[in-house]
Amino acid sequence: MWRFILRRLMWMIPTLVIISIISFIIIQLPPGDYLASYIARLESRGSNVDQATIDSLRMRYGLDDPLIVQYFKWLGNILLHGNFGYSFEWRLPVSQLILERLPMTFMVATASLLFAWSVALPIGIFSAVKQYSLADYFFTVLGFLGLGIPNFMLALVFLYVSNRYFGLSVGGLFSPAYLNAPWGIHKILDLLSHLWIPVIIIGTAGTAGLIRITRANVLDELRKPYVETARSKGLHPMLLILKYPVRIALNPFISSIGFILPGMISGEVIVSIVLNLPTTGPLLYSALLSQDTYLAGAFVLMLAVLTVIGVLISDILLAWLDPRIRLS
């Protein structure tokens, strides 16, 4: 098992390197460098930027170095000092901004994943056992609708319905009263009362896919002879299904974290922008619009790293469940 984890960790290194290169490219992509747009912005506000300041800033960010050197400087600062650069828009270190927002993103994405699981598993099993029943068709249609409706549309409909019919303002993760309050039981309750909306919206798309997977897997297992044997032995049908086919069908379920988690994080970003949640989404969005490139690059980097770690965890879980994987 440890050997498997070690091997898997080794594989992560090239992945992380490529992710860092892509993030760095994103920082470099916009025409001109960020300093130019920063200075242009300062000048448009009427403040005078003297050449000495510009030169010292250029020095500080090593803008005159070749790209390769810039990349290693950027990476070195992150790895050795936890320094992701400086956000020109917020006038704060990027690491501070990220630390504020990233845990929220992780929490919302995880909650959505748990929601998707807890909904998809029973429905998937039920649809398989009662194949071609009315309920099966109902959930199939619901599942396809979940796949077809863009996340942000669902968020907009939620906004509209709650505004129009309940007079509520959905959005955000906290009530204004708790926004700056210290963490406590009341704040957590307040958070939960807001959290369910984004969780349902983000979770729906993943749920639809998971129901299909679970249903197909359980169906495959149900046709196998051992089920017949167990049935003829007189095992209680409920116990039989939960004890054997479901257990085997769970395997692909866990491996699917690998491709569902990136989707959840993607969905979280776009839904957060619509619902204005205090997660990475809106900040990444504004950073991209204002070409606050260090902040944007760091966000893309951290979101990707988060996903890689999530996939790693799912792989380890899978290997722990299924000895065939860790021994191959």
Partner: protein, 376 residues
């Protein structure tokens, strides 16, 4: 093995003589009712995009002077009785001086019959010739807004029809680019195997674990601001394809892996066929059907991605028209509260995405006509 296959098919089909694989696929596809319906819907949607200037009652940029007018449908029950042709009423807008909201009142005395081939805005047909005829419409002054109007008083229904041109074509163009990349890289990976395979597979894994929307957002936001609509259109398509090719490459690789051990490949090789000939002449045709199915299934995600990016304002921007651009106007809660019909373009997105999903499902089942009924 070939004999077995042939024998099983001739018995499986109802005693008929040998059928060509294409016919068998067609039979199998036709059995999937939802897929056949979806095919017709998709054909209809693309026809709508082609004949937009004839089908749309208005030019998409025409300002009718009636901003945020709610949808108004023609009725056959005017004047307390059945009436033909159906009519729409005129509307007058007044400003409520208390709330400063625009209030529309229907004026039943002004009736405009809905006519076919009515004269309206002058439209150019792909720059070839111009015509002012529209399939249906009313004479100017009537509020014939099937999906209401937007902030500038432009007819949302007409804009949806015109928007389909970009929204529907971006999926096809994007998938074509993905397909080229996917077939080349997946083919190389599957056919040659070894170290190349390993590198390509790792690359695919890395790309797939990137959360796509943040990546797309970052790349799309980096497109130069002075690009023309056409340049942005292709820029966005390329960005979407950068991620989209991975799934297709996986399918192609899987097929190559299973097919390269087949006897007919060995036979071709022994007969002295070149690698290029084996791939082009023998391998590609034998899994073309699977590729078509996978391609169909990857179109909806392209359409959704373009819609999301344009919705956020970092994809296509006005004056370009796509469903995502239209939805951008619905981003604000307050706007949405007074004019919920601005969400209707989203309905088109959902219909299109679902239709492509069902069609792809049907094609996937039909792609392998010899396979037994799928369990799921």
């Amino acid at each position: 093995m070939t004999i077995e296959k042939a024998a099983s098919t001739s018995t499986a089909s109802t005693g008929q003589p040998e059928e060509s694989p294409l016919r068998l696929m067609w039979y199998k596809f036709r059995a999937h009712r939802l897929a056949v319906w979806s095919l017709w819907i998709i054909v209809g949607l693309y026809l709508m995009a082609i004949f937009a200037n004839f089908l749309a009652p208005f030019d998409p940029e025409t300002r009718t002077g009636l901003p945020y007018s709610p949808p108004s449908w023609p009725t056959v029950m005017a004047d307390d009785g059945f009436n033909w042709p159906p009519v729409v009423y005129g509307v007058t807008s007044t400003l409520d001086m208390k709330t400063f909201k625009r209030v529309y009142t229907v004026d039943t005395t002004r009736q405009y019959p809905v006519k076919l081939f009515v004269a309206g805005d002058q439209q150019s047909w792909f720059g070839l010739f111009a015509s002012d005829r529209h399939l249906i419409g009313v004479e100017s002054g009537g509020a014939f807004f099937l999906m209401g109007t937007d902030a500038l008083g432009r007819d949302v229904f007409s804009r949806v029809i015109y928007g389909s041109r970009i929204s529907l074509s971006i999926g096809l163009v994007g998938v074509s680019i993905s397909l080229v990349l996917g077939v080349i890289l997946g083919g190389i990976s599957g056919y040659f195997g070894g170290a190349i395979d390993l590198v390509v597979q790792r690359l695919i894994e890395i790309i797939q674990c990137f959360p796509s929307i943040p990546l797309w957002m970052a790349l799309a936001a980096a497109l130069p601001h002075d690009w023309t609509t056409v340049q942005v259109y292709f820029g966005i398509t390329v960005i979407l394809s950068l991620v989209g090719w991975t799934d297709l490459a996986r399918v192609v690789r899987g097929r190559f892996l299973s097919l390269r051990e087949e006897d007919f490949v060995m036979a071709a090789r022994l007969a002295g066929a070149s690698e290029a000939r084996i791939i082009g002449k023998h391998l590609l045709p034998s899994f073309a059907s699977h590729i078509i199915a996978s391609v169909t299934l990857s179109i909806p995600s392209m359409i959704l991605a373009e819609t999301s990016l344009s919705f956020l304002g970092i994809g296509l921007t006005p004056p370009a028209l796509s469903w995502g651009v239209l939805l951008q106007t619905a981003q604000n809660v307050n706007t949405l509260a007074i004019s919920p019909w601005l969400l209707l373009p989203g309905g088109m997105v959902i219909i299109t995405v679902l239709a492509f999903n069902f069609l792809g499902d049907g094609l996937r089942d039909a792609a392998d006509p010899f396979a037994k009924e799928r369990l799921s």
